[in-house]
């Protein structure tokens, strides 16, 4: 077994342990805190008998360990419970809302990589000049501004004042959504060969994705710059200068690749921020995703739905981090061949 595969298996096993911990944590928090979920779900007009029936149906009358055991058994069968808020299985709700959120997050992640890294590289190459100073100030502003502030400001300027982008939603009301295959409107409209829907969905995606990406772009540019500046001090760069290689080649080839390793590592943390900030951006832009659903179920104290949503988000985060680690291993041969370092 190659070391890479062994590392992968190791990481997957550790992730399962952590996921079990997450479910336990959410469960304890949900059950310890006062308030009767069955009563809240049914509203003040329900009779005590109805509340009692619901309590029994969801095992809410049992001690917490029993409730947790029942829950784990259901999850193992792929059942996340029923949402008291939407009156549907939580799994069905998540399946409906997750693709919109993932589309937003992938678009934002692409922007972070495609904007943040080049800005950092250029900032390092032209360090201590005007562009570098502007880039650094921009990065600090990017990191220091919450995603919802980016959301409302971008919306105010580009949607309300200049009317360049739509104010909210995933698609114009006049267009039918593309036939669902992946649930990503951008990909589905390509698969359906529908150019008009593709352009409209990209048009709707641009502002929320940018709002979501801003903090990550700032963070990534800052880190890339620091990492590149560090690499520039290494002897092999001096040697490349001595050989008379062109500056662009030194910057983009020799300095870039080693500098990329810490940047990629931190990208895993950026993904956590994206998953959290999606809650804010979706609420600003009326984006019908999992996060907006999450806010609704939190406000309605819908326990199964909250635990289910958090579990899915934690799982997405763990998967993303494993993917980032594999990417780091591909970029950095020292980690690839050392292997087994979880």
């Amino acid at each position: 077994m190659s070391p890479l595969v062994r590392t992968l298996i190791h990481r997957l096993a550790a992730s399962l342990v952590v996921l079990a911990g997450v479910s336990m944590l959410m469960f304890v928090v949900a059950r310890v805190i006062p308030g009767d979920p069955a009563r809240i779900a049914l509203g003040p007009n329900a009779t005590e008998a109805q509340v009692e029936a619901l309590r029994r149906e969801r095992h809410l009358d049992q001690p917490i360990p029993v409730q947790y055991w029942e829950y784990v058994r259901e999850v193992a069968r792929g059942n996340l419970g029923n949402s008291l808020y939407s009156n549907r299985p939580v799994r069905q709700d998540i399946a409906q809302y997750l693709p919109a959120t993932l589309e937003l997050i992938f678009a934002a992640a692409a922007m972070i990589v495609l904007i943040g890294i080049p800005v950092g590289v250029l900032s390092a190459r032209y360090r201590r000049r005007l562009g570098d100073h502007l880039g650094r100030v921009g990065s600090i502003v990017g990191v220091s501004t919450p995603a919802f502030v980016w959301g409302v400001i971008l919306q105010l300027v580009f949607a309300y004042f200049w009317r360049l982008f739509p104010i909210e939603g995933r698609l114009a009301a006049s267009l039918p959504p593309p036939p669902p295959i992946t649930g990503f409107f951008v990909i589905d409209s390509v698969l359906a060969g529908d150019g008009k829907t593709l352009i409209d969905s990209l048009h709707h995606l641009a502002l929320p994705a940018l709002a979501l990406a801003m903090a990550g772009i700032g963070q990534t540019a800052r880190l890339t710059r620091a990492s590149m500046v560090e690499t520039y001090r290494k002897p092999f760069i001096e040697m490349a200068h001595a050989y008379g290689f062109r500056e662009a080649r030194i910057s983009n080839r020799y300095a870039f690749r080693p500098a990329l390793v810490p940047v990629l590592t931190i990208l895993g943390l950026d993904i956590a921020a994206l998953l959290g900030n999606a809650f804010l951006v979706e609420s600003v832009f009326g984006w019908p995703g999992l996060s907006r659903y999450g806010v609704e179920v939190i406000l309605h104290k819908d326990l199964d739905a909250i635990v289910g949503t958090v579990l899915i988000i934690a799982a997405a985060f763990l998967v993303a981090n494993i993917a980032v680690d594999l990417l780091v291993a591909v970029v950095n041969p020292r980690i690839r061949f050392a292997g087994g370092r979880a």
Binding site: V18, V22, P146, V149, V152, L156, A272, L280, I298
Partner: protein, 282 residues
């Protein structure tokens, strides 16, 4: 004070424009929050009642930053919102830091069983995106500033646990720790008198930056309606309320947004400056 003014760290800090900008912003915000009752033009507007004759006034004139839809002075409310934000950040860090530091010290110093158990527990908390964890905890409680603080504290301590764990692991092989062990120093003595003082610079720097980030997370939660409730002036809920009146009453959104940027950026720049100054001093 002369030793301080002449120290290499302070000299580096003073030359660093960004760090000095951060210090200035932080000083302004802290002074405004401390002396809110004297500085705010209309202190009574921090409550539910405003000046009904001046509803929705644009910036300028009697109201420097304009008024909201029920005639409350925006500048006054922002100053009081700073007070609430700083209080929240201080309370959260005052509780989360000691918990995290103790967990980190124990996990880093004691045997592998302890470090495995404690750090896996930390991983569980760190594997949920911070905002999601804090929101779901508030979700089970009634939304309020106090519950927001509890939720943020619950998600914040693991970062200090991890930081202290890494620092402790590096320190425990050092000669002074081994010497303390040989002379039979007690566990608390080794942890808190020997190892902890050497971890403090990193912990304090992180705390400075974190004041800004706690305010950022708290405002994000109140933006979603999961934090302080009306009529308490709060940075996040002011942006949310203002967004309902876009684009006409743009000042209700733009000024609270800038207020958040100022305080988070201030602590960020200050923390970065302190870190670099500490490196120079060493």
């Amino acid at each position: 004070m002369t030793w301080f003014a002449d120290s290499p760290g302070w000299r580096a800090f003073r030359r660093d424009t960004m760090a000095m900008t951060g210090l200035t912003l932080v000083a302004l915000v802290v002074l405004a929050a401390l002396f809110a009752d004297w500085i705010a033009p209309y202190p009574s507007h921090a409550g539910p009642i405003g000046d009904f004759g001046a509803m929705g006034a644009p910036p300028g004139g009697r109201f420097l930053l304009g008024t909201d839809t029920i005639g409350r002075d925006l500048l006054t409310r922002l100053i009081y919102a700073y007070r609430l934000s700083l209080e929240m950040a201080i309370v959260v860090l005052a509780i989360a830091t000691p918990i995290g530091v103790v967990v980190g010290l124990l996990a880093g110093y004691l045997g592998p069983a302890w470090s495995y158990g404690l750090m896996r527990l930390t991983d569980v908390f760190l594997s949920i995106p911070p905002l999601v964890l804090a929101m779901s905890i508030t979700g089970f409680l009634e939304p309020s500033a106090i519950h927001g603080m509890i939720a943020i504290t619950a998600m914040w301590w693991p970062w200090y646990a991890r930081l202290t764990y890494n620092l402790t692991r590096a320190e425990r092989q050092e000669g002074y720790v081994v010497a303390a062990e040989i002379v039979g120093a007690s566990l608390p003595h080794i942890l808190f008198r020997e190892i902890l003082p050497n971890c403090m610079p990193s912990i304090l720097t992180k705390m400075t930056v974190d004041v800004g980030f706690v305010i950022l997370i708290a405002s994000s939660m109140s933006f979603l309606g999961l934090g302080a409730q009306a009529p308490t002036p709060d940075l996040g809920s002011m942006v949310a309320d203002g967004a309902k009146y876009m684009p006409d009453a743009w000042w209700l959104t733009v000024f609270p947004a800038i207020a958040i940027l100022i305080v988070v950026m201030g602590f960020n720049l200050l923390g970065d400056g302190l870190r670099e100054a500490a490196d120079v001093a060493r």
